[in-house]
């Protein structure tokens, strides 16, 4: 259903860094120009700040456009690089406090603590966020960019690269957590002269914007990660399959590809070696199912994005039947850091079988809506209450939804559980791509289950019967419950049907579609029963009609 104005529409204005002076700056203001802040007029802030600094006679300061600073709820954000002082909700007509702060910066100023939102995070995939100009290759290089690829090309064999990734314990950040090193090895060993690398940037989970932020804030990093992967699996061509709904991400990717090609980081003979690798962008067109590997491949091939049964897996038979490595944005974004700092460093972060860090998009009824990266194994409570700042208006926490439409709702009693692939599955949810939606007592959990079911039935590609028909039937049963017209037999039918859709559907969309139902039934069965037996909605969300004489 997602429809948007055509992709690549002209952005509000050409985005440029407002350099006020030549030479090294005494003080620098970072202005966040990722989508969220940008839509709150942060570009005007950049321009105005540059003008005001010049008017104030500050010749030794810089105003710099950067990627996502993270605290999206408080945008537009401006940060003083030297001191770490953060300005929230900066309006273009009120930049004087920032100018004042720039004036006060003295050589030797140290960054002050910035509070738990920033201090508790561990930034790996997002290490350049809020630091580099997303479109500047020089900035990326200055931040250590392409060091990893240089090391790979000059010092390592493809086997060593793969072993390094395996040793780091990195697992697919798209949701399912398949070991990345194993996937790379399968593609590397698969028969075929031509191999491909695809970056899955079709972030579709409602309430998830990690990939968008990475693409908008640090696009070169994806290109570097993909190039390392291509070297490791012997591929020469790559595709980035990106949602057309992310025009800013697409524009920045295009710029990055062009500049990287020009500088010899993409194309033939990268970094004066014999390694050749190039990347093209393919735009998605509004189909959630295209996040599924085989559907994504069909879409890259110009067809309806419908999945096919696996095996054969894309690693063996993928794009145009060639071995194809598909990883998600965050996975590729983690690769350069792993290569640069060593697999052991990465593997030392995390808990259990979930190593490293994970980026989450924190949203919903939480104070600090935004993008956070935390070590695997951090407790949900720490993420939501310490980093997230708790619930808006101090209302009671009810549940946190993770994993998007294939995920589940986790109640308060499990807030102290660590966030790992395994623990989330144990709780009846799913890591997913990293959406984390916080709900308070104003949300009805049956209504939430119905919302996700509506999403799934709308996004079902229609190929296999259980998903095409079953998701709608599940939605009809949930609708009956929220209208107060269901019986306990309908509830039993809902559970039975959910199990059948889960087991019989062709791809992850259908197999995961019943998960929100299972998890809400597991933790909030009393809310279902209230709708069915007492004919009332405890959260007051559902409009329950008086018991109808005639059931349809």
């Amino acid at each position: 259903m997602s429809e948007m104005p055509a992709a690549g529409r002209p952005l509000r204005r050409r985005v440029i860094t407002e350099e006020v002076h030549e030479g090294p700056a005494r003080a620098t203001a970072y202005v966040c120009e990722a989508a969220s802040c940008l839509s709150a007029q942060s570009h005007d802030v950049t321009v105005r700040l540059g003008e005001r600094a010049a008017e104030a006679g500050l010749t030794d300061v810089a105003v710099k456009r950067v990627g996502c600073i993270g605290l999206c709820a408080a945008g537009p954000l401006v940060e003083i690089a030297e001191t770490g002082q953060l300005f929230e909700r900066v309006r273009p007509d009120d930049v004087e406090p920032v100018v004042g702060a720039l004036k006060r910066v003295k050589p030797g100023d140290a960054r002050r603590p910035q509070g738990p939102f920033f201090e508790k995070q561990v930034r790996v995939a997002t290490e350049n966020f809020g630091r580099v100009d997303p479109e500047s290759l020089d900035d990326y290089l200055a931040a250590g960019g392409y060091e990893a690829l240089r090391r790979v090309l000059s010092e390592m064999t493809s086997t060593e690269v793969r072993d390094g990734i395996t040793g780091s314990g990195l697992r697919g950040r798209g949701g399912a957590g398949y070991p990345t090193g194993l996937k790379w090895t399968t593609v590397a060993k698969a028969q075929g002269a031509q191999k491909y690398v695809i970056c899955n940037a079709d972030e579709g989970d409602p309430g998830a914007f990690m990939d968008r932020s990475v693409l908008e804030s640090d696009p070169y990093r994806i290109l570097e990660g993909m190039a390392i992967a291509a070297f490791a699996v012997h591929a020469t061509e790559g595709y980035i399959y990106c949602r057309a709904e992310y025009p800013l991400a697409v524009a920045r990717l295009r710029t990055a590809i062009r500049l990287a090609q020009r500088a010899g980081y993409l194309g033939a003979g990268i970094m004066d070696t014999s390694f050749t690798f190039d990347v093209q962008i393919r735009l998605g067109a509004g189909a959630f199912v295209c996040g599924e590997e085989t559907a994504l491949i069909a879409s890259v091939e110009g067809r309806r994005g419908t999945p096919r049964p696996r095996p054969p897996y894309p690693a063996v038979q993928g794009l145009w039947d060639c071995p194809t490595l598909i990883n998600n944005v965050e996975t590729f974004a983690s690769v350069p850091a792993i290569v640069r700092r060593g697999p052991g460093w990465y593997a030392a972060i995390g808990a259990g079988k979930s190593r490293g860090t994970k980026v989450f998009a924190l949203a919903g009824r939480v104070v600090n809506t935004g993008l956070v990266e935390v070590p695997m194994g951090m407790a949900l409570r720490e993420i939501i209450f310490d980093i997230g700042g708790g619930i808006i208006d101090g209302r009671p926490f009810k549940a946190v939804q993770t994993g998007g439409p294939s995920g589940g709702c986790i109640p308060a009693e499990h807030l102290d559980k660590p966030v790992t692939y395994e623990s989330l599955i144990e709780l009846g949810s799913f890591m997913g791509s990293g959406g984390m939606i916080v709900m308070d007592d104003t949300s009805c959990m049956v209504d939430v289950a119905k919302y996700f079911q509506d999403f799934c039935r709308d996004e079902s590609c229609g190929k296999c019967t259980p998903c095409r028909v079953g998701t709608t039937q599940l939605w009809m049963l949930l609708d009956l419950i929220t209208r107060g017209e269901a019986t306990l037999a309908d509830l039993a039918q809902l559970e039975r049907l959910a199990g059948i859709v889960q087991r019989m559907s062709l791809c992850g969309l259908g197999q995961g579609a019943p998960n929100p139902i299972f998890s809400t039934l597991r933790y909030f069965r009393d809310e279902y029963l209230a709708h069915i037996v007492e004919k009332r909605c405890p959260a007051g969300v559902c409009a329950i009609s008086q018991p109808a004489e005639v059931m349809a």
């Binding site: 189909a287 049964p309 590609c461 229609g462 019967t465 028909v469 059948i500």
Partner: protein, 238 residues
């Protein structure tokens, strides 16, 4: 030299050659696995999900029509649970559109009806969707009643892979998916349709039918031309 594999289906020792599907080997050995999108002679899609089987060692079910056999494979093609699942999927097919056997041209010659009977499906418990869908009788010889379509896409594949016209394809997605001709125009206005009738021949239900046939009069002209085509192709080494 083709490699021969031995495997078990429902505990029976059977053998097949490399590249054969579980469905094919089962069929050769007289083990019936239901399937409505499968059609010998065109590519399989694994979409109707009736032929789902259990394979020892795999937590997921697999579509028999698209799973190639392997040495030592242990396949369960029939179990209480599979029966329940297949009944449910068949039921979904009935509930998706508006199937009224009593007034259908394919009554008593219908693969959906046969499947329901074979699975012992006596009634429907799942919600009925009752969509308002069209009948297109604009073609001179044939008609399509979308009320009876189960989206097996045999028509699309036979039109593409055998006739080479590619008049049929599908449009929209999810529950809105429909088979359609050319640009979603009335069939009778199609400039690519050769009126060969293959789509009608392979339709498992009464969705595609020859005009002028009475209720239950549909199947009399159905000819199994695809197996013959396969024989011809094999003879000529195609």
């Amino acid at each position: 030299m083709t490699t021969v594999y031995t495997l078990t289906i429902d505990g029976r020792d059977v053998a097949g050659s490399e590249g054969q599907t579980v469905m094919e080997v089962a069929e050769e050995n007289g083990i019936a696995i239901p399937g409505l999108c499968h059609l010998e002679g065109v590519h399989d899609r694994g979409a109707c999900r009736l032929c789902m089987v259990e394979i020892a060692g795999s937590p997921k079910l697999a579509a028999a029509c698209m799973t190639t056999i392997a040495e030592g494979m242990e396949v369960t093609a029939h179990s209480e649970q599979l029966l329940e699942y297949r009944r449910a999927v068949t039921e979904m097919m009935f509930m998706e559109r508006n199937h009224v056997c009593a007034v259908c041209v394919a009554n008593n010659h219908c693969e959906l009806q046969d499947t329901a009977a074979a699975l012992g499906l006596t009634h429907f418990d799942l919600p009925r969707i009752s969509p308002k869908v069209d009948i297109d009788a604009s073609h001179r010889l044939f008609a399509i009643d979308h009320n009876r379509c189960i989206l097996c896409l045999r028509c699309v594949r036979v039109c593409d892979e055998i006739e080479g016209a590619h008049t049929w394809d599908i449009m929209h997605r999810g529950l809105e998916t429909r088979v359609q001709t050319d640009m979603g125009i009335p069939w009778g206005e199609s400039t690519t349709c050769t009126s060969c009738g293959k789509c009608v021949q392979v339709c498992p239900t009464g969705a595609l039918f020859e005009k002028g046939r009475p209720v239950a009069g549909g199947s009399k002209t159905k000819r199994p031309f695809l197996p013959w085509l396969k024989v011809v192709q094999e003879e000529r080494g195609l």
